[in-house]
Subunit: 201 residues, 2 copies
C-alpha cells in the first residue's frame, strides 16, 4: 500500500491518525497543495478525484475519499462497532462530516490559512461561515454532553473523522472552542488514545 | 420503520428509489422545506441534523444522512458488492457525492428552483457553480466511458446515490447533459431497473 497525503489537510490527517492508532506503517508520498508533487500525482492519474488523500491498495486500486479509506482500513478493527445500528450511526456522522461540517469548518480554516485562498476570504463569507460553524459545533456539543464518544461507548471511525477538522477549528478556523466544553473534553479523550499522533507530527 | 422524506429533495429520493427497487414499503412522512411538517419534526427531535431524510429504525433510532440510510437498508442486498475493495470503491463514490457533487450540482439546482433560495442565486455564483459542475460531470463521464456501472459490473448504492442529483442536473440545474453521452446512457440503465420510480412518482 501507498498513501498520497496532503500534510496540512485534515482529510489526509484522519488516515495518518488511524494508521498510527492501529500501529500500522504505510509509505507516504506528500502532495501539498500547489506543489509539483501534487501536479505529478494528478498527471499520473493517481488521484481519481484530483485530490488527496488517496490510498493505493495492494492490487493497485486507487482508493479516494478520506472516510472511505478510514472505512476500508478500519474493517475488523476496534474502530468499527459490531452491531449494525451502531455501524449505521457511525457512517451517518461520517457522511455529515463530509456534507456539512467540512464544508464550513475546514473551508473557513482554509480561507484563513492558505495564501492561495485568501482572495475568497471576504468579511461577509467569513461571517457566514462563522455563524454556520457555530451551529454545527452546537450539534456536536449537544450530542457529546453526557457521552464520551459519538457512537456507543468506545471510539469509532466517526470520532477520528470528526476530530480532524474540529481539533483545529480554533487555531485555524477562528472558532472559540471554550464555548463548547463537551467538545473540548472529547478532543482530550481522542488525544489520550494509545498511539495518537498530531496533525503536524 | 418510518421515513421522513422531503419530496423535492434528491437526498430523500435516493432512499425512496432504493426501497422501490427492493420492493419494500415503509410509511413516509413528508417534510418539505419551509413547511409546518418540517418544523414539527425538528421540534420533536426527529431529525438529528435538522434535515431530511431520516429513517426511524424499529428500535426507535433516528438514522440521518441519505447515504448512511442507503448503506443500512442495502445490507445483504444485491446493491452492495461482495468483495471488500468494491465495497470501498462504492463508499468512495458515495462520500464524493456528498462532499463534492451535491454541494455543486444540487446547490445550483436549489438556487434555481426554490423560491426561498433565489436571493442567493447571483449571476456570479451560478457561473461558478456551472463551471465546477461541468468538471464534476466530466469525472463521471470519463469513468463511465466503457463501463455500465460506477463500481464493478452491477448496479450498486453508488449508482443510486449519484443518480439522484445527476438525473435532474439539466432540468433543474441547467447543465447540458447532451455533452455527456456516457452519463446519459448510464442514467437510462438506472431507469430500466425493475421497480424504478422517478423523483415525482
Amino acid at each position: 500500500m501507498q498513501l498520497f497525503s496532503m500534510p496540512s489537510s485534515g482529510n489526509s490527517y484522519k488516515v495518518r491518525l488511524l494508521l498510527a492508532l492501529l500501529g500500522r506503517t504505510v509509505p507516504i508520498t506528500d502532495v501539498e497543495a500547489k506543489t509539483d508533487a501534487l501536479a505529478q500525482a494528478k498527471a499520473e492519474g493517481r488521484l481519481p478525484f484530483g485530490k488527496a488523500p488517496v490510498l493505493i491498495l495492494d492490487d493497485g486500486t486507487a482508493l479516494a475519499e478520506s472516510n472511505a479509506i478510514l472505512h476500508h482500513l478500519g474493517q475488523g478493527t476496534r474502530f468499527i462497532p459490531v452491531d449494525p445500528v451502531s455501524q449505521a450511526q457511525m457512517l451517518s456522522w461520517m457522511f455529515w462530516e463530509q456534507n456539512t461540517h467540512e464544508g464550513v469548518i475546514a473551508v473557513r480554516s482554509a480561507l484563513l490559512c492558505y495564501p492561495h485562498r485568501r482572495a475568497q476570504a471576504t468579511p461577509e463569507r467569513l461571517a457566514d461561515l462563522l455563524e454556520a460553524g457555530i451551529a454545527i459545533l452546537q450539534i456536536m456539543e449537544t450530542h457529546l454532553s453526557g457521552r464520551d464518544w459519538l457512537v456507543g461507548t468506545a471510539p469509532s471511525l466517526a470520532d477520528l473523522s470528526l476530530y480532524a477538522y474540529t481539533h483545529s477549528a480554533e487555531t485555524r478556523g477562528g472558532f472559540d472552542l471554550s464555548r463548547f466544553p463537551a467538545i473540548c473534553a472529547w478532543l482530550a479523550r481522542v488525544e489520550e488514545l494509545p498511539g495518537y499522533v498530531g496533525l503536524d507530527d
